[in-house]
């Protein structure tokens, strides 16, 4: 087996869907877990705006319902990340990645500001378009090799078309675009600091994992 992430430490089998931990995926899994716990326990930052031309400032209020929704979305995002890190099935991986995409849209879209919502909508369109190459890639891998299990594919018995790998990367790029939208100035006008971090972190993690998957196949 092509051990790109180190020797597998532990296998968890659900029928033919095998979850496995290598030193590489275990590290990413723990990182996702730690940040999910941070999101769970942290309180949102209250953004301070300074009134122009005076000494006054005011803190933005975040309504409880908005806070709850964004926290829920961040935790769901963390769970989806953890799933994407350790799954040993190509189709499950694509599903978890698209779940990360949906959660990122949700984290951003809960902010009741027109500009933020516009950015979230555009990102959502890209994420939705990203599912097309991603699912196509998984389907092509299943059709050409007859299996979706990464452990089987890693044996390198059958060649996977380069097009399928390229489409997989393209799809993950589409889903993981959140930080680029978060980099828009409008995003940082959005209050609620710990939650936006989850967008960036999840994208970083799924990019690291997809690199491993591509090298493994």
């Amino acid at each position: 087996m092509n051990e790109i992430g180190g020797a597998p430490l532990f296998f968890l089998e659900f029928g033919d869907i095998v979850i496995y931990f290598t030193p590489f995926t275990l590290t990413l899994f723990i990182l996702a877990l730690v940040f999910t716990v941070f999101v769970l326990v942290s309180r949102p930052e209250r953004q301070i705006d300074i009134a122009f031309g005076g000494d006054a400032y005011y803190a933005k209020e975040i309504s409880l319902s908005e806070l709850r929704f964004r926290r829920f979305m961040s935790i769901a995002c963390g769970l989806a990340c953890m799933g994407a890190m350790v799954t040993g099935d190509v189709f499950d991986f694509t599903l978890f990645v698209s779940l990360v995409g949906i959660c990122n849209v949700g984290i951003v879209a809960a902010v009741k500001s027109r500009h933020v919502q516009n950015a979230a909508y555009q990102y959502g369109l890209v994420a939705l378009a990203g599912t097309v190459p991603m699912f196509s890639a998984a389907a092509m891998i299943a059709a050409t090799t007859g299996t979706l299990s990464m452990l089987e594919l890693a044996k390198g018995m059958i060649l996977i078309p380069v097009a399928a790998k390229a489409l997989l990367v393209l799809g993950v790029m589409g889903e993981g675009m959140a930080p680029f939208y978060a980099a828009k100035a409008e995003m940082f006008r959005a209050p609620g600091a710990p939650y936006v971090i989850m967008c960036s972190l999840s994208s970083l993690l799924i990019f690291l994992r997809v690199a491993e998957v591509i090298l493994l196949l």
Binding site: G15, R114, Q117, A129, V132, A139, A143
Partner: protein
Amino acid sequence: MWNEYSIGLAAAFACALIGFLALVWERDDLHKLLLIDLVETASLAVIALIGTDLSEALILPGLVVGIAELLALSQIYLTKEGYQHHPVTRLNIEVMMRSPAPVIISAILVVYGIILSGFTGGGIAGLGIVFLLMSRSFSGDFHALEMASGISWALWVAAFFVFMFAPQWWYMALMGAAIGILLKVIAKMSLVGAMWGEPE
């Protein structure tokens, strides 16, 4: 080189490409959303090209993820554009008042769906109930329906655990899963039908 699979793949990707080209030129946000949904269908076609039982099992989650993103984005679109509650009266397809046609059509669909069973049957029976609820302005309490949906889903999951841990009981698990998914899809689709419009 050009076997059936390659031709099908080429056709599906050609469809996706046409959709993406339309997306490049489209400026209206709502139309963009609709076009992306269209492109999504091409990816389902690629999954369907696997042509085994596996493709059916993969289309289902693919479709669910697509619909979830579509629902989330349409909700964002509504808030973004500031659209508020639009009261919708009942779907007016009847020529005569109080004609029994919707009841008969729904009954046929429900019975046929129960005969089919499984996910497809659930879809068809659910469609029948959606149709009935849409053509009658029905307002009621949906707690029972939601509970039925939840319980049947639990039945479905329990059946899968039987598959995993006690494979010798596979026939019972198969029946449980089929009935569970039938009830679940019927209940879920009826809820969708009831959400069509609020009574004025």
